[in-house]
Symmetry: C2
Subunit: 297 residues, 2 copies
């Protein structure tokens, strides 16, 4: 059975010509499919979603990193999104017939090749981290591209591959394996951002909430509503419905209710089927055996 | 893109040797996968779930019908489940890259071949029906094997292929295209079967309820609870959550609540993802684009 691995590289550009180049590379490797890509000018960032077999995904990941190093100059980069590299982060996710251990292995091989072929220093993060303070991307990225030279002089910030200094124009990259992530936002019928922030603090793991939930409050200016914006970084450990019901419960304190939610980008079917199982009170459901499509993949 | 079509033939046997023969045929056709099969002695019936490309599924369907005709003798058949043929019913369901119209076409070709190769008269049913009174399987099957010779003398019960009389030992078969069906049962915290029957009457289309829901009350003797047992014959037209919430609402009249539910056999992921969309209040969800697995099939 062919292993299928997802790779979601983030690039620090929204230039249409460069994106065209990245798309061409993405489509040039046998065994690799480009599922989705999007870019945002205010963030000055592009996110690609690729899926492929083990060899294909390794090959395309390294080629994309080399292209980013050759074409993106961080010394001239501005944008709202925090970033530390031309290819900023490169996660590998098990999709089918692949384990987290295999994705860790792949991330380590790709990290080594990126340093060898592009000269970009590599930090392993998430499940591939070589130290506890390297698990969280935000911790590695703190100081961003501009602060990286100083930060990397400290022994605890020696990269996993490469020298104690960032690439002069391409910075550094975080490479690692992680479970599939679901971007899940919940909209409140209030324009009070403080309420969304308070609720985000309650549900996210870092401040005492659900371990596998990251979240902040954001204001949707066009709709004049506050939103709890979340990354569900492990939807089996922290299911979407549990966070949704907790938000509903906490919002009551303010007389606020949920007016809707959104899933951004792709989500594995199981993240949502698990929610249906809860709400419909389905007994003894076997996802692998009872979902028709699982027999067709 | 390869069309994938599901076929779920029901055979009037639970004999292990015959089932072995049916399994062997199911596994012998390139392009066809046997997803599941189960047999029940008290019903004296076996249900097979196969999926395959257009040519494969047509070939296997006809071969299975010929085997059933050669090996199952309805004149000696007893069992709780109503039946009219050795192969009793043979639905075709669009699974991927296939339309209902294509499945109707396939069902008509298979029906013709079954009569030619096995000599079994064929009624087209569901979306393939050639008259309104032939849509519902139960209407065609009324009178069962024993009453079929008399019934088929009436002009309105002339089969779509074959003579005005059943095959002497293999009876007749209903062949047709239909949407995927989900077997969905809801358990009540009561041992009063009348309550389950009353609620089934409310939710099923035939007595004024939801158009694409069939249902009866049944008693789960081992658990001493009553159940609303349903076939959701078109989960897009009548979603599971809507029926579930209606059952909950109607059960309140009796001070009864839902203690659980079950999905029997296979269900398409969308039938459950649609429910998660409702309960999580997800706005603007695009199932085809946003479910990761849809890009892998």
């Amino acid at each position: 059975m062919t292993k299928l691995i997802e790779c979601i590289p983030n690039f620090s550009t929204s230039d249409t010509e460069l994106i065209k180049g990245l798309v061409e590379i993405s489509k040039s490797i046998p065994g690799v499919t480009l599922l989705d890509y999007s870019a945002d000018d205010s963030h000055n960032r592009a996110v690609f979603t690729l899926v492929g077999d083990e060899n294909g995904i390794k090959t395309v990941a390294v080629k994309l990193a080399v292209f980013a190093k050759d074409n993106i100059d961080l010394t001239k980069h501005t944008g709202e999104h925090p970033r530390m590299g031309a290819v900023d982060v490169m996660p590998f996710v098990p999709v089918k017939n692949a384990t987290m251990e295999q994705c860790i292995e792949i991330s380590k091989e790709v990290g080594e090749m990126i340093f060898k072929e592009a000269g970009i220093p590599v930090f392993f993060y998430e499940s591939s981290a070589t130290a506890p303070n390297r698990q969280n991307l935000a911790t590695i990225r703190k100081g961003q591209f501009e602060g990286m030279a100083e930060k990397m002089k400290k022994p605890e910030w020696k990269p996993d591959f490469g020298d104690n200094a960032p690439h002069p124009t391409a910075g550094v990259v975080a490479v690692g394996a992680r479970p599939p992530l679901v971007a899940f936002n919940v909209n409140l019928n209030t324009d009070n951002l403080t309420i969304a922030n308070n609720i985000a603090k309650i549900v996210r793991g870092s401040s005492g909430g659900f371990k596998h939930c990251k979240g902040i409050g954001v204001m949707l200016e066009d709709r004049k509503i506050a939103q709890v914006s979340m990354n569900m970084v492990n939807y089996e450990g922290t299911p979407l419905y549990r966070v949704f019901e907790t938000i509903k419960m906490e919002a009551k304190r303010y007389g606020v209710s949920i007016i809707g939610s959104e899933i951004i980008g792709l989500a594995p079917a199981k993240a949502l089927v698990d929610c249906a199982e809860y709400y419909l009170q389905i007994e003894d459901f076997d996802y692998d055996k009872q979902i028709l499509e699982n027999h067709l993949l």
